[in-house]
Amino acid sequence: MRRPSYTAIDYAVLGAIAVAFGIMFAPWWTVYYGLKSALGPIPAKLITYGLWFFPAPLAAVILKKPLSAFMGETLAALVESLIPNAGGFTNLIYGLAQGAFSEIAFAAGRYKRFGAFISALSGALAGIPSVLLDAVLYSSIYPLGYMIYIIIAVMASGAIYGYLAYLVGKVVK
């Protein structure tokens, strides 16, 4: 039985996804801040946070190999850490965690299913470590009720962008 290994094509595609994502993401911060002042943090998170999780389901839908979600997210994160930006190496830390959680969704599908639902699920799952890391970093000891809203908003955002990643992945190949 042939174990699918990663070829130079796969690595090149992962690199391209990382850059494309990084270029699109950079101005997104401004959108987030703008929306946050207009609508408040929860709607702002709902609309924009999920973009962070986009590379994982996208890479999985395109490469369709085990660990591609994890690699997609981690490589995008690694590239983000290596260019001047405010997040620095937190990108890498978040990316590793988000990638791992995103991968769970595809592992649960036994790496045979790469459809819309699983992509959305993978995006949603990545929200969990993100909110937890945020809580640690920002010492955000919010009241439990508020915390629940944040987690729901972020996971919902992740699901939206996970679904979008599936749609984009379909036309890319």
Partner: protein, 471 residues
């Protein structure tokens, strides 16, 4: 350099290959030996690239394709995984587009990376890389980021990368698909010097007119079958470019009348730094103007400046305001989910919008398709129609004929003639000599950073000459 004769050869026997079934290439056979060259020509869709991918083992090992038959390159069997992994040391490759081949940020990185793959130590790799860069004139730009190289320099880098490890065999898959006569001259040089060295050279091309004099063995790939090509067949081939086009008269027939729709004096364009200057530039109503020059000479930049995407560095452009730029990658233009939605976009001019679907030959079958799913030629077609939907007075097309096979090319010429006859003006950036002969009323030729008007047939002949074609 002494090459063993058993190393420098390529042979395939009854090779059939395809992506899900071996049905794209059907029983192809050929053999090229030491110091010999073979040219494989064929129309679009005949499977030329599939053949290349199949014989190198890429189709079997990377793309899960199906390959039957035998292949042997440099004594290795690429269809076997162990040999496929060793194959790179025997072959040098040049692919379609430098943008799709260069992997590292700088020229020196690119060459040392390749040499390190073959096990050269860092010091040795560096040494050989610098030598190779010297041989293509890039040593002064060794540490430049690749994006700061001109198109010609990128091409030279890929040429250096193909032979930096001294392989006995050279394989090229459509190296001219998006390059210009200047690049063609360099590829011809590479072919000649490789044959002289005793290498085996295999070239797969869809514009064989530029190379046929260099090869004794010419094959034609049609419908998956590979056959030897005879001179007497030339006349019967309608879908492959074997012959050089006539360049037409000195000036187009419709020049000089009509009002000026674009006018500029003492223009300099570029991003920050001026890369192209023109003392004067003008276009009149109902004219087709061609801007001709090597890749990276500023053709796209000047079109974008006229379109208003960037401001001119010096001078200003006056004339009709309604200008629409169609980028080289048609994909960039698409916004909607289906072809139908694109062609009736609300933001277009209502009158112009109505007739668009009649101009799209595949409308009935493709109207619910996602624009990204269309073939290259169809996407290019769609992008031009979208532009027409905005009813511009000036249409700016960036390399419209690139990637089109002969049939679509002829259709394009007809479409643009109709556009011109409807009173619009069209400015085309191109390095395709055929477009000059078939369409242009006026030609602006770029040389050494300056653009000046040139006679049609002079420009056309010069392009063929630069490419080194015997006419």
């Amino acid at each position: 350099m002494r090459l063993q004769s058993d190393e420098a050869y390529v042979s395939i026997e009854e090779l059939s290959a395809g992506y899900t079934k071996p049905d794209v290439i059907l029983g192809a056979s050929l053999r090229v030996g030491k110091g010999e060259g073979a040219l494989i020509a064929g129309p679009s869709g005949s499977g030329k690239t599939t053949l290349f991918l199949a014989m190198t083992g890429v189709l079997s090992h990377l793309l899960e394709g199906k390959v039957e038959g035998k292949a042997s390159i440099g004594g290795l069997d690429p269809l076997k995984l162990e040999d496929y992994e060793l194959l790179p040391s025997k072959i040098g490759i040049v692919l379609q587009d430098p943008e799709k081949q260069i992997a590292m940020p700088t020229p020196i990185d690119e060459l040392t990376f390749i040499l390190e793959n073959f096990g050269y130590s860092r010091e040795e790799a560096e040494k050989r890389a610098v030598e190779a860069l010297k041989s293509v004139g890039l040593q002064s730009k060794a540490n430049f980021h690749v994006e700061n190289l001109s198109g010609g320099e990128k091409r030279r880098l890929t040429i250096a990368a193909s032979t930096v490890h001294d392989p006995p065999i050279l394989l090229m898959d459509e190296p001219t698909a998006s390059i210009d006569p200047w690049g063609i001259a360099e590829i011809r040089g590479l072919i000649r010097s490789s044959l002289d060295k005793g290498m085996a050279v295999l070239l797969i091309e869809h514009k064989p007119v530029f190379f046929k004099d260099l090869f004794e063995r010419i094959y034609i790939l049609r419908g998956g079958k590979l056959d030897k090509f005879e001179e007497k067949d030339e006349m019967s081939i309608r879908d492959v470019d074997f012959s050089v086009k006539e360049c037409g008269e000195e000036k187009g027939k419709d020049i000089g009348s009509g009002k000026r729709v674009i006018e500029a004096r003492d223009l300099a364009v570029g991003y920050g730094r001026a890369i192209l200057r023109a003392e004067e530039l003008e276009m009149r109503e109902g004219e087709i103007v061609a801007i001709v020059g090597p890749n990276g000479s500023g053709k796209t930049t000047i079109l974008k400046t006229i379109a208003g995407f960037i401001g001119p560095i010096e001078g200003e452009i006056v004339g009709e305001r309604r200008r629409f730029y169609v980028p080289q990658f048609p994909d960039m233009l698409f916004i909607k989910r289906t072809v139908e939605e694109e062609l009736r976009d609300q933001k277009m001019d209502p009158r112009a919008r109505g007739s668009l679907k009649d101009l799209f030959p595949w409308y009935s079958s493709l109207k619910s398709s996602n624009p990204f799913r269309l073939s290259h030629g169809q996407r290019r077609w769609l992008s031009i129609l979208i532009a027409l939907g905005y009813d511009p007075s000036v249409l700016l097309l960036d390399e419209p004929s690139s990637g089109l096979d002969l049939i679509l090319y002829n259709k394009l010429v007809d479409l643009l003639k109709r556009v011109k006859n409807s009173g619009k003006s069209v400015m085309i950036s191109t390095h395709d000599p055929r477009l000059i002969g078939d369409l242009a009323d006026r030609v602006y030729y770029i040389k050494d950073g300056r653009m000046a008007e040139k006679g049609k047939s002079k420009a056309c002949s010069e392009l063929y000459e630069v490419a080194g074609v015997v006419r």
